[in-house]
């Protein structure tokens, strides 16, 4: 445990560092000029050069990179060109929105997917289950932007129940959450089903059943309980992925999160903002992943026993 944590932490930080470095390089290689996006179409070459100098973009890339690494240590990634404010501040202002959407989506997904998966597992391959199963396949086959537009049309245009865009009321959370959750429900419920069906077919369950353990206990404790770890992992991984911004859904619903922020930052070639967004989201994703790993010993009795023996 004592060596595990620092090692894992180090690996995580290395991953984050490599990620931001790749992004740093990619945005500078990509065509498009932040100065042109900043100064507008009427700017003269002279003005553009002045802006480039002001942004520090006239220095060689390697030198810019060294400055960037220095910034990483201070946590100040420079001033966003388009917001004219510290890039980190801008990202932090947007982050709560993405966290809210990701949390509500993963909660909704878990609340729907786990019971649904259990039902599917118990009814595996019966007529009704095959139908539901096909529906979950459909759930994972719908492009999320299309689902979003369809929900928008249905519940903001035809039946104007929910706001179309943005987050000024809690009602605004409903449609984006559902849009994001549909895919997650499909994936997680199928996973719960698969794990539980495997557990139902496993020898220990047959033995437990032959010893007279009730079906209810079999389902809840044995089959579902042992499916807990992979399902928990999947939920965590999905959550971590959402922290990178549910780009398309945020764009469709005008959600002021980091996903729509990054699209905008790309459109204005706002280098500090792109870098800050990637840094924060990658850090968060790695942290969530680390938490999942650390939770394993608590969840898996074998890991727990091993730990108990050593204490």
């Amino acid at each position: 445990m004592l060596t595990y944590l620092p090692k894992r932490l180090g690996q995580g930080l290395l991953t984050v560092f490599l990620t931001v470095s790749v992004v740093f390089l990619l945005i500078r290689l990509a065509p498009g000029d932040p100065a042109a996006a900043f100064a507008g179409p009427l700017a003269t070459s002279e003005e553009l050069a002045a802006v480039r100098e002001q942004f520090g973009l006239d220095a060689p890339i390697f030198q810019q990179y060294l400055i960037f690494i220095g910034q990483l240590f201070t946590g100040n990634l420079g001033t966003s060109y388009s917001f004219q404010a510290p890039a980190m501040t801008v990202v932090m202002e947007r982050l709560p929105y993405t966290l809210t959407l990701a949390t509500s989506s993963i909660l909704l997904a878990a609340l729907v997917a786990i019971p649904l998966g259990m039902w599917m597992a118990r009814r595996a391959d019966t007529g009704g289950e095959v139908g539901v199963n096909v529906l979950t396949v459909a759930g994972q086959s719908m492009p999320d932007f299309w689902t979003g537009i369809m929900l928008l049309t249905a519940f903001s245009v035809v039946l104007p129940i929910f706001p179309a865009s943005g987050f000024t009321t809690w009602g605004g959370l409903v449609l984006p959450t559902i849009t994001v959750a549909i895919l997650q429900v499909a994936l997680i419920s199928r996973m719960v089903r698969r794990e539980m069906v495997n557990n139902f077919n496993s020898p220990y369950l047959t033995i437990a059943r032959s010893r007279g353990v009730s079906e209810r206990l079999l389902t809840w404790r044995y089959a579902l309980g042992n499916a807990g770890i992979p399902v928990f992992t999947a939920l965590g991984t999905r959550f971590a992925a959402m922290l990178n911004g549910v780009v398309v859904v945020e764009v469709v619903f005008g959600w002021p999160g980091v996903g729509s922020l990054i699209v905008r930052a790309l459109e204005t070639r706002d280098y500090p903002l792109i870098q800050a967004t990637v840094l924060i989201t990658a850090l968060l994703a790695v942290a969530v992943q680390l938490l999942i790993d650390l939770a394993y010993p608590l969840l898996d009795p074998r890991v727990r026993l091993g730990k108990a023996a050593s204490v």
Partner: protein, 307 residues
């Protein structure tokens, strides 16, 4: 007792002690599984062909030119004279645009799967077979890619190299290779412990030729089962990219762009978003069901990784 009666009674009498009736057999888990796999197989095949065939045959069908405009017949609803799926904002036949757009989308999808499959199988088997630093390196890259803001990186790369079909194909392949690589790696890890690999080593075969001639062919079949699932994902990813503006140049239609163009008209012309979306869903559901059914139909090892 005559032998004749014995024989005729045989099924009944022999079934009684084991309590297994034909009906019970039919209701058994494995029979049910086989049946649901069959249902999925058929449903998947029908849905896939329903979309796939018209797309492939689009050039031979009596369709309007997908780019021919008729400004006098803008945004006609479906089923209006001669336009089965209606027309778009420039009076172009929507059905024709969906089918010809599908050719682009499908071609990108198939190519991307081939490329990502090749990269994934090669790197995955190297990681699994050689282990040590190769494994560490490849696994680390895999992990790093999982934590990247994928869609953003793809948008960046498309901006970097321009939105052409080869670039978009390459980008989707980059997004997908980790899945193949991980699967291949885990399969190879099992395979390399098998006696025949030791035997080949003892016989003095070079490691590379063992890998290429024996190990990869043995895992290839299992690894190839994910191809259909990858194809489904590739089609979705391509549509998301062109929805965000990173699609092949106009005036060629792609599915994502049809939807993003139609988005401006949702309050008046529902079909411009709904129909292209339904076609994508039909194809992807079909392909996913096929993939599911093929995998479930396998006797063992069905519980490895899934998308």
């Amino acid at each position: 007792m005559s032998t004749a009666t014995h024989i005729t009674q045989a099924p009944a009498t022999s079934s009684a002690p084991s309590a297994v009736t034909a009906k019970a057999l039919k209701a058994s888990a494995s029979a049910r599984r086989a049946r649901s796999a069959k249902i999925k197989l058929w449903a998947g095949a029908i849905l896939t062909l329903l979309v796939f065939l018209p797309i492939v045959l689009a050039n031979f069908l009596p369709l309007a030119d997908p780019n021919a405009q008729n400004l006098g017949a803008r945004r006609l609803p479906p089923l209006s004279d001669g336009y089965l799926f209606g027309t778009d904002q420039l009076g172009r036949d929507l059905l024709s645009r969906i089918l010809f757009g599908g050719q682009t989308s499908l071609m990108i999808g198939v190519l991307a799967v081939v490329v990502s499959g090749a990269i994934g199988v090669i790197l995955g088997s190297i990681a699994g077979f050689y282990g040590r630093w190769a494994d560490v390196l490849i696994s680390r890259v895999l992990e790093a890619q999982m934590s990247l803001p994928l869609l953003m990186m793809l948008l960046l790369v498309v901006a970097l190299f321009g939105p052409s079909i080869p670039v978009i194909t390459g980008v989707i392949a980059i997004a997908q290779w980790p899945e193949v690589a991980r699967l291949t790696r885990s399969l190879v890890l099992v395979e390399r412990e098998k006696p025949y690999v030791d035997a080949a080593k003892t016989l003095g075969l070079h490691k590379i030729s063992i890998l290429i001639k024996h190990v990869i062919p043995n895992v290839f079949k299992q690894a190839s089962l994910v191809i259909l699932l990858l194809l489904a994902q590739a089609v979705l990813l391509e549509s998301a990219l062109s929805f965000l503006g990173a699609g092949p140049q106009r005036p060629f239609a792609t599915w994502g762009r049809l939807i993003s163009d139609g988005q401006d008209y949702i309050t008046t012309s529902w079909w411009m978003v709904t129909l292209p979306g339904l076609v994508i869903v039909a194809l992807v559901v079909g392909v996913n069901l096929l993939g599911d059914a093929l995998r479930d139909g396998r006797p063992r090892r069905k519980n490895r990784k899934e998308a």
